[in-house]
Assembly symmetry: C2
Homo-oligomer: 469 residues x 2
Amino acid sequence: MNPYGSESDLTGAATLTSCPTSFIPKAVRGSLFFFLDDPGTDNDPVSSYRYYEDGILILTDDGHIADIGSATDMQSRYGLTHRDIIDHSGKLIVPGFIDTHTHYPQSGIIAAYGYQLIEWLEKYAFPAEAEFIDKHYARTISRFFLSELLRNGTTTALIFGSVHKVSAEALFEEAEKLNMRIIGGKIMMDRNAPQYLLDTPETAYSDSKALIETWHNKRGRIRYAITPRFAATSSNEQLQTAQRLYHAYDDVYLQTHVSENQHEIAWVKRLFPSSKSYLNVYNDFGLVGPRSIFAHGIHLTDDEFKLLADKNAAIAFCPTSNLFLGSGLFNFNHACLASVRLTLGTDIGAGTSFSMLKTMAEAYKVVQLQSNFASASKKKAALTPFKAFYMTTLGAARALFLEDKIGTLQPGKEGDFIVLNPDATPLLSFRMKKTLTLADRLFAFMMLADDRAINAVYLMGKRWQNSEA
Amino acid sequence: MNPYGSESDLTGAATLTSCPTSFIPKAVRGSLFFFLDDPGTDNDPVSSYRYYEDGILILTDDGHIADIGSATDMQSRYGLTHRDIIDHSGKLIVPGFIDTHTHYPQSGIIAAYGYQLIEWLEKYAFPAEAEFIDKHYARTISRFFLSELLRNGTTTALIFGSVHKVSAEALFEEAEKLNMRIIGGKIMMDRNAPQYLLDTPETAYSDSKALIETWHNKRGRIRYAITPRFAATSSNEQLQTAQRLYHAYDDVYLQTHVSENQHEIAWVKRLFPSSKSYLNVYNDFGLVGPRSIFAHGIHLTDDEFKLLADKNAAIAFCPTSNLFLGSGLFNFNHACLASVRLTLGTDIGAGTSFSMLKTMAEAYKVVQLQSNFASASKKKAALTPFKAFYMTTLGAARALFLEDKIGTLQPGKEGDFIVLNPDATPLLSFRMKKTLTLADRLFAFMMLADDRAINAVYLMGKRWQNSEA
C-alpha cells in the first residue's frame, strides 16, 4: 500500500546521530541583528534593536557571548587575526529562534487531512501519542524532532510530550546530548480521552514531580513545564495537583491550551459552569501567572487578555495550526493593546511547518485578514517584520523569563544564534537584491525563506552539525 | 544600504540560459497519477483518476504521450529494454501544474510589506511595472520568471504582462525558446493609474491585435489573452475594444480580476452604477464566456457564480495572495455547488509562492477557515487532495479549454509532466513513510512539499534542465 517504505525504515533513518561540534570559535563575523526591547508596532523602531552590517561577536571559552560590535571595533579591541574568526560575511546572524508551542509526539501526523480540532484530536493525535509508551520509539522521534527544530533555526522550544513519563525522559535525554535549552513536560490527562492515554491525578503528580526533580535546572539546559493538556481533559483533582506543582518549584513552567476552537470553548463552559471564562478556569486553579504559557487564545475576550497581562502570563500564537484546523484568526491587535506577552508557536502536528520563518509569514497573513474583518473605522496595524522577529527571539525569551540567558546577542547571554543566508533560493536571492532597508530584508526572510536559509546554528557557541545533511 | 548586492548583479545572474534538453526518451517509469474527470468533493473518487503504482509512459518521437499503463503491460507490449526507459521509480509522475493567474512583471515585489489591494497596487505594483517599458529588462525578468515556474513544476501559466507591448513580446520569445505552453497578454489600462502606465483604447487595441496576429497559435505553444487589468482601470471605450478582440479571434482568452477586495468592489460600483454587479460589468461588455478567466472572485454572490457557470467562464482562486493582502476567504463550497470551472493561481507578486503545491496548501487552509465562519447548520466540505490536484491539472486544462492537449497523461496529449520526489526533505520523507493511502500521499505533497520535491520537469517529452542548478 505504501510505496515509500515502511515504518521500520524510519527508525534507521532517524537514528543517525546529530551533535554539536566540540569547537567554540573565538569570534564570529557577519551582519548582526538583535533586539534590546519590544519594537511595538512601529515600522522603524530604531531604538529597540542593534544592527551591525559588518559585525563581530566575541565568545567566551564556555560559549557565552563576551562582546559584540562592529568588525572594526572588535578587531582592534581584541587583536583578532583571521584565524580567530569564523566568517559568515554577507549573511545575517540573529539569536536562535524560540518556538513556544509544539508537540513532539505529533511529528508523524503533520498534514493529517480533513478535520477541525476535536475530531482531529480523536482521529489523529490520540492514536499517534499512544505509541510513546515505548521509550525506544520516543527516543527515535525525539531525535528527528530536535533535528528538525535545529535545521529550522529553532534553538529553544516549549514542548508537549505524551501522557507517558518516558516520553519526557526520552526528549530530555536527547536534548541534553545536544546541549539545547529545552522546556518540556509529560501531558496530564485523566478524563475525556481514550482509556489508553489517561493518567490519574496521583500518577500525574508523582511522574511530573520525579521529572522535575531529575531534570529541572539539574541536567543540561533542561527546564520542566507542568502540562495539563487542556481544561476538558483534566479533572478538578488533577488541576489541583498541577497547581501544587506549579507553586512548589522555582522557575517551573505551566503550558496548556486555551480558546482555540468554538466547540472546545462551549465544551469547557459546560464542564466548568462556575468559571467566568475559559481562561478563568485556569485562573481559578491558580495556573495563570509568570511562566504560564497558553497556546492559541484565538477567541479570548479583552478581559481575558487583561488577566493574562496582569498576571505576566503569555500567549503562543500558532498561525499555521490555526489556519490548518480552521480554528480562526488570532486577534493580534487586541493582544498588543492589552500588552500581553506575545510569542509564536509552530504547534506541530496541527501546525504545518517547523520553521519559525514560515510561522511568522502565516502570522502576517492572519493579521492582514483579521484587519479585513475589523470594522473600517478601526484601522489596524500589520505585523511588522521587527515585531515578528522580536516575538521569536527576545519577546519569547521574556515571555519565558529567560531574557537573562537567550533571545538576544548581548554580552553575558548564552551563545545560541543562527546564520540566515539571503541567497538560499533563487527567489529569495532575487528579492533580496531589490530590498532597500533592513525592514525589507527581514520581511523577505520571513515571507520567502525556509529551512534552506538556515545556514548555520550555534548552541552555546558550538556549531551544530546535522549528520543527515 | 543593501549588503546583498545591487540591481545590476541581477541581470548577470538571470541571463544564464535555461533550456530543454534535445532528447525525448521512449519511455518513462514511475508511479503515474492523473485524472479522467472531476473528482468532486469525494474523499476517494476512484472512478475519476488513474493510478499506476509502477507505471510506464510511452512517448512519441515528437513528445506526445503514446500510451500509458502498468510497467509490466507496457514492457511486454512495446518490448522495452532498460535502455529505452528513464527510470523515476519510487517517485510520483503527474501532469505539469497549471497556474491560471500570475503577473510576471511583479516578480520583484513579492513580499512587499504592509498594505491591502488598492494601496499595494499604487505603492508597489505600478512602479514595478513601469520598468517593463525596457525590453531588455523584460526579457531578463521573463527568463527568471519562467525558470521559477518550471523549478516549481508549473508547465503552463496564464500570465499578465505590463501595459507595454514589449513586455508580452519578451515573455513570449522566452517561452518559445523553452517550448512552454504559455498564455499571456499585455495589460489594457487607460484610466485610474499613473500616467506613465496608461495606454488608450486605440493603442490597446492595435498592440493587442498585433500580438495576437504574431503569436496566437502561430509561434511555439503560445496563445494570447486579452488583458484588461480590471474594470476600474479601463474606460467603457477600452472595454468595448476588449470585447471586439475577444470575439474576433478563435481560441483567444480574456483574463482580468473580479471581486477581490471590498474597497475595489465599492469603487467599481461607483464607476459602473448601471451594472447589476461587479461581474456584470464584464458581462455587459460581452467579456464573460468560454476562455475568460477571472482572478479571485472572493466576494461573488451565488448569482454571479451561476453566471460564470452558465457562460463556461472560470475562476482563478489565489489563496496565498488573498491571505497576504488580507482580501478575504474565497467561498470554495459555493463555487463547487454552482459548478463553476474552478482553478488555482499563484497571483505573483501579491501571492507569496511560485509553487502550486504551496498554493494548494493555502487553499486547503482558506477552505478550513471558511467552514469555520459558515453557520454550524451548513457543514461544509474540506478541499480534498484529489480536488486540489485536479484543480491544478485537468481541472485547469478544462477551464482553459485545453483538455485535448494538457492536464492529463492520456494518449495523444502533449508530454508535459513532472516528477515529484517523496524524499525531498527530511520531514516530507518522514511523513510519507507514515501514509497509508494515495490520498494521504497527495495530501502530504500538497501540505509539506515545495520546489525541492520537483525532481524533474518534461516539456513536450524533453527534460528541462535548469542551468542555474
